[in-house]
């Protein structure tokens, strides 16, 4: 018996990292929002490693934060260790990474959802989507509750027809012992969406008390931990170390002897797994000459003895897993608490989506997160906030927020997914970004907070902080460009002591700062009377001045890129009508229906000549019907 249980502006299905951001974004933008979870205990759950951030992923977290999302603050409030990685490799690839306390992370996020104005959090299994004509209307739960809404965001992760595989054992299920979702997959197919199948995996968890850390190398956090959020001011926290050890020859021997029992090699797994997250058996086979592989032991939280065995993802049978673990130095007497497993699940090939993350087929239906073929909490959250924002804008009949590849890693991520699709679970990487020197983690707020403000997600306090920071940066850059230093002996000595060359005449501070060997802190030491600026402002000034040449170059590239990006392709375009397009280009364009000429040019199989013909055709059409267009 179905009954009308409520009417909303936006419904979000799922409370993983995508669902949480989507629901919060929609509610904070003023929409009456419902978020449904399969299990109230699993809000913002981390089914895999207890870490947030790292190269490109940390960039995503900063960007989510800059737009007004929750992941950054939530990580800052609950982490147990923080490290800034890549510090020696250039400002664009500095990457913040935090070890999370899984339980705390969940608890705090749940509390934020519960206390958010206009947001209802309910436990329910969605069986079916309600679709009328070409538009979504709401959802129906297993218990017959009908919730209506103009926009629905699906963020069901790996739950759709999930199947767990451990060696020769396999059963239907979601991650970490939860129930899978079966009905919704059918419902998606019924409304005409295609589904594909992916695979991923997770390593075993072990009891800290059974580990001999004296045989491992300690991995402490940074002495001065950074925060993800531009709003966090927290500086000190008690940190818990991780530990490094290595597999041994014995480990590899056991793996080789048991390969025939691996579902990957027996053909039991059909889904495609990610290359960057290979199982240990995969590593041993593919890199046979490597005598050992590194293994990190990472605490799952402050109040638990469970430790995550990073680098040891496996779907070998349980008995083999235990045997393998005990060949690793420090784990000779280890007790396994949870068994590693592989999970196969349905995903929605993302080429069926628009850049707004709305499905091309059904109006008002959005999709975000692992369901779209990605992997990673950060990738999920990044799509979640965009889907939430665009669901809210859709309800208001406003234009969607689309971040360009030159705006943010989020833009790179979504454009890659929607334009190119993916044939393995997609992970963001800094090498995927063309304009990496512009998309730094230190300037995410300068890139995105204004956009977050325009759509109504950035609150007054965040906006005030942002404005003040921008102002201070400009002031300080101007000051450095106006202040000069004379070629006095003490100045020359200072320069020489830094391995720099002497100056011949009065020299502007900004020009000194451009020298690779002179830092902002050096200038402060040299001059003495420097303004007392927040660290992040000084950092920003330094990066902007020092890398000006490269930044300028990338800005020029972006200008060229934007020209094609801003050339919109009208929705009514009929590719079959365009003579001269290559057959492959025609098929791809018909299938993907890119929004702009720039997007079209990134589709594989669409050549520059095809683009030229498309431009001429568009101009032809525009002139034929100048009034209506």
């Amino acid at each position: 018996m179905e009954y009308l249980a409520g009417e909303y502006d936006v419904i979000v299905i799922g409370t993983g990292h995508a669902g949480c951001e989507a629901a919060l974004a929609a509610a904070r933008m003023g929409c009456k929002t419902l978020v449904l979870t399969l299990n109230m205990e699993n809000v913002a759950f981390m089914p895999c490693n207890p870490a947030v951030g790292g190269p490109a992923k940390g960039h995503l977290v900063r960007e989510i934060d800059a737009l007004g999302g929750e992941m950054g603050i939530n990580t800052d409030e609950t982490n147990i260790q923080v490290r800034m990685l890549n510090t020696g490799k250039g400002p664009a690839v500095h990457a913040l990474r935090a070890q999370a306390d899984k339980k705390l992370y969940q608890a705090r996020m749940k509390k934020v959802l519960e206390n958010q104005e206009r947001l209802d959090l309910k436990q329910a299994l969605v069986e079916r989507l309600l679709v009328k004509g070409e538009s979504v209307e709401g959802v129906v739960t297993r218990t017959g509750a009908v919730f209506k809404a103009r926009a629905v965001v699906i963020t069901t992760g790996t739950f759709l027809r999930g199947r767990i595989i451990i060696g020769d054992v396999s059963y239907s299920g979601g991650p970490n012992g939860q129930a899978p979702s079966l009905g919704l997959a059918e419902s998606l197919k019924e409304i005409g969406l295609e589904l594909g199948r992916f695979k991923t995996g997770t390593p075993p968890r072990v009891n800290r008390r059974s580990i001999d850390f004296s045989k491992m190398i300690i991995q402490p956090g940074d002495e001065k931990p950074h925060n993800f959020s531009f709003m966090s001011r927290k500086r000190y926290r008690e940190q818990i170390p991780c530990w490094l050890t290595y597999t041994s020859e014995e480990t590899h021997k056991i793996i080789r002897e048991n390969l025939h029992r691996s579902p990957l090699y027996s053909g039991m797994i059909e889904g495609i797994g990610p290359r960057y997250c290979p199982s240990i058996e995969d590593k041993v086979v593919r890199f046979a000459d490597k005598p050992n592989h590194q293994i990190f032991l990472e605490p799952e939280g402050r109040d638990t003895e469970e430790m995550y065995v990073q680098g040891f993802s496996t779907s070998l049978p349980e008995d083999v897993q235990i045997k393998m673990l005990r060949t690793i130095p420090g784990l000779e007497r280890v007790e396994m608490m949870r068994t590693g497993y592989a999970i196969e699940y349905d995903y929605l090939p993302p080429t069926q989506l628009k850049l707004s993350l709305e499905t091309k087929k059904i109006k008002g239906l959005f999709s975000a997160g692992q369901l779209n073929g990605t992997s990673g909490y950060e990738e999920a959250a990044a799509q979640g906030i965009i889907a939430g924002i665009n669901a809210a804008l859709y309800v208001r009949d406003r234009e969607p927020l689309i971040l360009k590849r030159s705006d943010a890693y989020i833009g790179v991520l979504i454009d890659d997914l929607v334009t190119k699709g993916t044939n393995e679970p997609y992970r963001i990487m800094t090498s995927r970004a063309e304009y990496r020197l512009l998309l730094r983690q230190d300037n995410a707020d300068l890139r995105l907070t204004q956009m977050g403000r325009s759509v109504g997600l950035v609150d007054d306090e965040r906006y005030r902080v942002f404005e003040q920071k921008s102002r201070l940066i400009e002031q300080e850059k101007n000051r450095l460009a106006e202040t000069s230093v004379a070629p006095l002996e003490e100045v020359q000595n200072f320069l020489l002591s830094k391995g720099s060359s002497e100056i011949k005449q009065h020299t502007l501070l900004i020009d000194l700062l451009k020298r690779p060997e002179i830092s902002y802190a050096d200038l402060r030491r040299l001059m003495g009377d420097f303004p007392d600026l927040p660290e992040e402002v000084a950092e920003q000034v330094e990066v902007q001045v020092k890398y000006e040449g490269y930044i300028k170059r990338q800005l020029e590239q972006v200008e060229r890129f934007k020209k094609l990006e801003n050339k919109k392709i009208p929705e009514w375009i009929v590719y079959d009508e365009i003579k001269g397009l290559s057959t492959e280009a025609r098929q791809k364009l018909n299938k993907l229906r890119p929004l702009s000429v720039g997007q079209a040019s990134r589709i594989s199989g669409v050549s520059p000549a095809d683009i030229s013909i498309l431009l001429v055709y568009m101009e032809q059409k525009r002139r034929e019907a100048p009034e209506e267009a």
């Binding site: 990685l85 250039g90 290979p278 800094t430 431009l615 001429v616």
Partner: protein, 459 residues
């Protein structure tokens, strides 16, 4: 893309006479200004629309390339509705090509097939009825250039470019893997390793640029062989090319030296003339041609000057020789046309282009001009045999190589300035993409594939 400035030769390239280099785009006037010296010291920027300015095109080092007339047409009153500058060159093929190259160096980029027309249409200069023909034009020209590209790609150039790209990718992937997976035990590339590899790559790019177009010909000379039956006039040709009467071979055929080489300069192009003693006045011609030494000479030849005697018509001897040389780049020289002109060379015509048949009367010094002009044209259009093999004949390719070179130099500069590796990655990636323009491969997935296949990465 729509905003940058493009250039191309807008007239079919003929052997002599006028050729026009057309430059179109926002920077057209400033770009040509950089390389144009008006005789009356006038500035292009001040020139009236459609007026002609007389002066010289000079290269960026200030050397004069050609005497030219330049006209300025400002948008929207031009063919493309953008600022257009047309350079009318007078010095023949060579000058036109050199001028175009100089325009590229000054900041324009090569026009895509049909791009002038495309711009004209997009900017409203052509009417709707012409849209279809613009699309056809893009198509036809693209197909043609693709064909050329494919031919070239099957050759050595693509092999070389792919090698360099593979090296760039390897270095880049190593750097990037370290950046994207900092905590995996990937051995970091040291700065000295980066420097060494980068210098190595730079050397290889340089070698390719050197070979571009005329590079090798000018360095090593165009290996040219004169063949023909006895008494056809080979010595006369040789001497005419040497421009002095002197015996360059011994009197006794095939006895003292097997091969004689002489270098002569034809319109500035060094021709390495190879005479084969073996094919000189002997009785048993074909047998002699079969000897190993002679074969080698043919194999190495970039150009064969095959002489026929118009007074005797085509004989069996001629056919025998032609069979041996028809695979090479041939110029057929029909000599002694003062005696008789109407000889039938139809058996050879299917192997030889019309422009490659040259009538001469060496005794009266006639036809030599045409021969020299044709040789010059072959060299500058990259059609001489040695050039096909040696790679870069296409100005677009050369441009791409030079772009790649600048990027690779950027890496060395960054190393020098102690900049971090992610700055170098930008340049490496640019170099990789520039070279990819030549082979048509710029998909960035290469990098990711390389990272995952080479490094053991994962959690």
């Amino acid at each position: 893309m729509v905003d940058d400035t493009i250039a191309a030769i807008s007239t079919p390239i003929g052997a002599a006479g006028i050729g026009i280099v057309r430059v179109s785009g926002r920077q057209a006037i400033p770009i040509v200004e950089k390389i144009f010296r008006s005789l009356k010291k006038r500035k292009l920027a001040d020139a009236r629309n459609y007026s002609l300015l007389y002066g010289h095109i000079v290269d960026l080092e200030g050397r004069v390339i050609d005497e030219v007339l330049v006209s300025v047409m400002r948008g929207p009153h031009s063919f493309t509705a953008e600022d257009v500058v047309e350079i009318n060159c007078h010095g023949g093929v060579v000058a036109v090509r050199k001028t175009l190259e100089t325009v590229f160096r000054a900041g324009a980029r090569p026009a895509e097939p049909g791009e002038f027309s495309k711009r004209a249409f997009l900017n409203g200069r052509l009417d709707l009825a012409q849209a279809e023909s613009v699309m056809d034009l893009i198509n036809a020209k693209t197909e043609k250039s693709l064909k050329v590209a494919v031919n070239q790609l099957e050759g050595k150039l693509s092999v070389e470019i792919k090698k360099i790209r593979a090296e760039l990718l390897e270095l880049l992937a190593h750097i990037e893997a370290g950046i994207d997976f900092p905590e995996h035990d990937i051995e970091e590339v040291s700065r000295s390793q980066i420097e060494q590899k980068t210098r190595d790559i730079l050397g290889k790019i340089d070698a390719l640029i050197d070979s571009a177009g005329t590079g090798k010909v000018f360095r090593e000379g165009l290996r040219t062989v004169i063949v023909g039956k006895p008494n056809v006039g080979k010595s006369s040709l040789l001497n005419a090319l040497l421009k002095e009467k002197r015996a360059i071979v011994t009197d006794i055929p095939g006895t003292t030296r097997d091969v004689i080489e002489e270098i002569v300069s034809i319109r500035g192009i060094p021709l390495k003339l190879v005479d084969t003693a073996g094919i000189r006045e002997t009785e048993d011609l074909v047998e002699k041609i079969g000897v190993q030494k002679t074969k080698e000479v043919f194999e190495e030849a970039d150009l064969v000057l095959f002489m026929i005697d118009a007074s005797t018509g085509i004989t069996e001897d001629d056919r025998d020789i032609f069979r041996l040389v028809k695979g090479k780049r041939n110029l057929v020289i029909v000599n002694k046309t003062d005696i008789r002109r109407d000889i039938d060379i139809s058996d050879m015509e299917k192997y030889v282009e019309k422009e490659d048949v040259i009538e001469t009367s060496l005794l009266h010094g006639r036809g030599l001009d045409k021969l020299e002009a044709r040789i010059e044209e072959l060299v500058y259009s990259g059609l001489a045999a040695g050039q096909e093999e040696l790679l870069v004949t296409n100005i677009r390719h050369k441009n791409a190589l030079e772009k790649a070179r600048r990027s690779v130099e950027g890496v060395l500069k960054a190393l020098d300035a102690h900049l971090p590796t992610d700055c170098m990655a930008i340049d490496l990636k640019e170099a990789y993409d520039s070279l990819g323009e030549i082979t048509g491969e710029t998909v960035s997935e290469d990098l990711i594939d390389q990272i995952f296949s080479r490094f053991c990465i994962g959690k």
